[in-house]
């Protein structure tokens, strides 16, 4: 049996495979030690600081466990419970999280793109303007939460002062289940600056010759956008999509701060991770169930990411790829 491998210098080599497993493992390390050595920090780091906690939480997820007394085997009840007696809250959390993701990911992507297109002009002072647009991104989360809680206060907030002075009825913001989500998504728009930077970067990297060539052939704005800009930016779209999925499905901190630690009226802002948090750290903690919920989310995110990776043929990685 011949095993082929690529050596340190990228040459393909063949080697007879040994039958002794110890020798085979030894051989593996002999062949690959340089690469393994280089990535060893991340492997060790992940082992210590991620995988050990992950395995520990996986273990907890199979038991009735409160974090204090011993683990009690409960026949996979933590994994059936979301679909039986906790069905209502579980699916509420799933639907809140998905609704948010489905609106938020495309919205920030499209608006971030539009903003980048607009700010990619060569004008005087454009750098300062970009910085100012970026400013809300660097406001510390805690302060950000306080600020918007202050602003959206139903009766005394500035938001409703402005709205009522225009002769409109006061807007309930975070105090009604119908408007809480819309308010959250709207307030997210202040963070578009971060997205914008990534887009400007992508736009700048498209070779000017492509547009010139297209113009000579009489291509209009639409053709240029859909035939050049978007395909050339596809790696960025891809990156944004992956990060968006991972980030949106794990939404927690910013909402937690803005709602003052509550899941919103009638659970209208009960994000999945928030449910995990309440399950794990309430007055009667259920670490086992919280761990199971996290692993369910882990699988959901994994599936979506995998789907996106598998269907990523549309991503254009340059000519040589």
């Amino acid at each position: 049996m011949i095993e082929y491998y690529t050596d340190v210098y990228g040459n393909v080599r063949g080697k007879r495979k040994s039958r002794n497993p110890l020798k085979r493992i030894g051989g593996y390390f002999k062949r690959n030690w340089v690469g393994l050595l280089l990535v060893s920090p991340v492997l060790l780091g992940i082992l210590f600081f991620t995988l050990v906690p992950m395995v520990s939480s996986l273990y907890d997820s199979f038991f009735k466990y409160d974090g204090i007394t011993e683990h009690i085997w409960n026949n996979f009840a933590n994994f059936t419970r979301p679909f039986t007696d906790d069905r209502e809250e579980f699916f509420k959390a799933i639907s809140v999280t998905f609704l948010y993701s489905i609106i938020n990911i495309p919205l920030t992507m499209v608006l971030g793109y539009a903003l980048a297109l607009f700010l990619n002009q060569k004008l005087k002072g454009i750098k300062i303007i970009r910085m100012l647009y970026y400013l809300p991104v660097v406001i510390p989360t805690v302060i950000y939460g306080l600020l918007w809680r202050n602003f959206t206060n139903l009766e005394y907030g500035l938001g409703n002062q402005i709205i009522t002075s225009l002769g409109l009825k006061p807007f309930p913001f975070f105090t009604s289940k119908n408007t809480a989500m819309a308010t959250l998504i709207f307030l997210n728009l202040f963070g578009l600056g971060g997205n914008m930077v990534l887009w400007i970067a992508s736009l700048n990297n498209i070779p000017k010759e492509l547009y010139e060539a297209a113009e000579i052939e009489g291509a209009g704005w639409g053709t240029k956008t859909f035939r050049i800009t978007i395909p050339m930016c596809s790696p960025m779209i891809f990156y944004n999509l992956i990060m968006g999925i991972i980030g949106s499905l794990q939404t927690f901190g910013n909402v937690f701060v803005m709602t003052g630690g509550t899941p919103g009226p009638k659970n209208s802002l009960l994000f999945y991770v928030m449910k995990v948090y309440y399950t794990a750290f309430s007055g009667s903690p259920e670490i086992g169930y919280a761990s199971a919920l996290s692993w369910i989310l882990f699988v959901i995110i994994g599936i979506f990411t995998l789907i996106v990776f598998r269907t990523s043929k549309w991503v254009f990685y340059g000519e040589d790829a």
Binding site: G45, G193, S294, I301
Partner: protein, 291 residues
């Protein structure tokens, strides 16, 4: 003829002028939108204690005062700043260095099964952090790290985060193999190639990661909250400020002081962004375009 040409260019100029002024106008309107939270914060920080929590909430102070800044700026704040700079300084070096080394291993040197191992590395980003916090606390406690700066620094030596490795890998793929090969012919070893060729070429993305690390560490709240607990000597700004001006149970928290802290904390990252804007914008690009 010449007259006509001039006319055209003039009308073209005028058209361009209109376009520019419209652009500026739209920018100004959008600027109002984006700067709103900042101004809200800024004006609130200039209110007196009593006015800052008066109802209905005011936007512009009736009288500008800097009392909030005077209260906020004290010795302990400087101490927190010092700690934060320590953590930031460490991470800004450690994260890109470690991440680029690992990325080099995954993307260029490669080993059997490197893609699969990288898949595992990426997958670790997907588990919500809430649930690993307690086991992590236990590990750090076993190491005797609780209440010290180690938990917010040392783990970053180990790879510097999957996202950063991913970004650098994408970038490295765009570096032509020939450069590396010619160095090999000259007899350079792996580390030599990394430090002399790969690293300098990766500077744009490394700079991007440095700035991002700075922002992340500067505002990190959850990490210090859990791991530095009970040891104010090592509090970073985000957490120190939180306890001082927001978390108090018994004393009153004044919005003007809270916002003054916010304004002060926004300054360094904004300056950084302004200075490194060009590099930031170039950095991300190449990484993802040339896959």
């Amino acid at each position: 003829m010449i007259q006509a040409k001039r006319m055209i260019s003039r009308s073209k100029l005028a058209k361009r002028g209109i376009k520019i002024s419209v652009s500026y106008l739209v920018m100004a309107v959008l600027l109002l939108f984006f700067l709103f939270p900042f101004f809200f914060m800024f004006f609130k920080s200039l209110m007196s204690d009593a006015e800052s929590y008066s109802l209905p909430i005011r936007f512009i102070p009736s009288k500008f005062t800097v009392t909030a800044y005077k209260t906020v700026l004290d010795a302990s704040l400087l101490r927190y700043l010092g700690n934060t700079l320590l953590v930031v300084g460490f991470n800004v070096i450690a994260v890109p260095l470690s991440a680029s080394l690992c990325a080099y291993g995954f993307a260029r040197v490669k080993f059997e099964g490197s893609n699969k191992v990288f898949g595992i590395v990426l997958a670790t980003m997907m588990l919500p952090s809430v649930v690993v916090q307690i086991p992590l606390y236990v590990i750090f406690n076993m190491l005797g790290w609780i209440g010290t700066l180690w938990p917010v620094t040392i783990p970053n030596i180990f790879g510097g985060g999957a996202v950063n490795i991913f970004l650098i890998m994408q970038f490295m793929r765009g570096i032509p193999k020939e450069i590396e090969n010619s160095a090999k012919i000259d007899g350079a070893n792996v580390m030599g190639i990394y430090f002399r060729i790969i690293m300098p070429l990766c500077m744009p993305i490394v700079l991007f990661i440095m700035v991002n690390t700075f922002l992340g560490v500067w505002n990190d709240f959850m990490g210090p909250l859990i791991y530095l607990q009970g040891n104010p000597d090592w509090y970073t700004l985000a957490i120190g400020v939180y306890y001082k001006f927001m978390g108090g149970l018994s004393q009153r928290n004044y919005p003007n002081q809270q916002m003054a802290v916010g304004v002060l904390m926004v300054i360094p990252p904004s300056i950084l962004f302004l200075i490194f804007q060009n590099q930031l914008i170039e950095g991300v690009t190449m990484g993802s375009i040339k896959g």
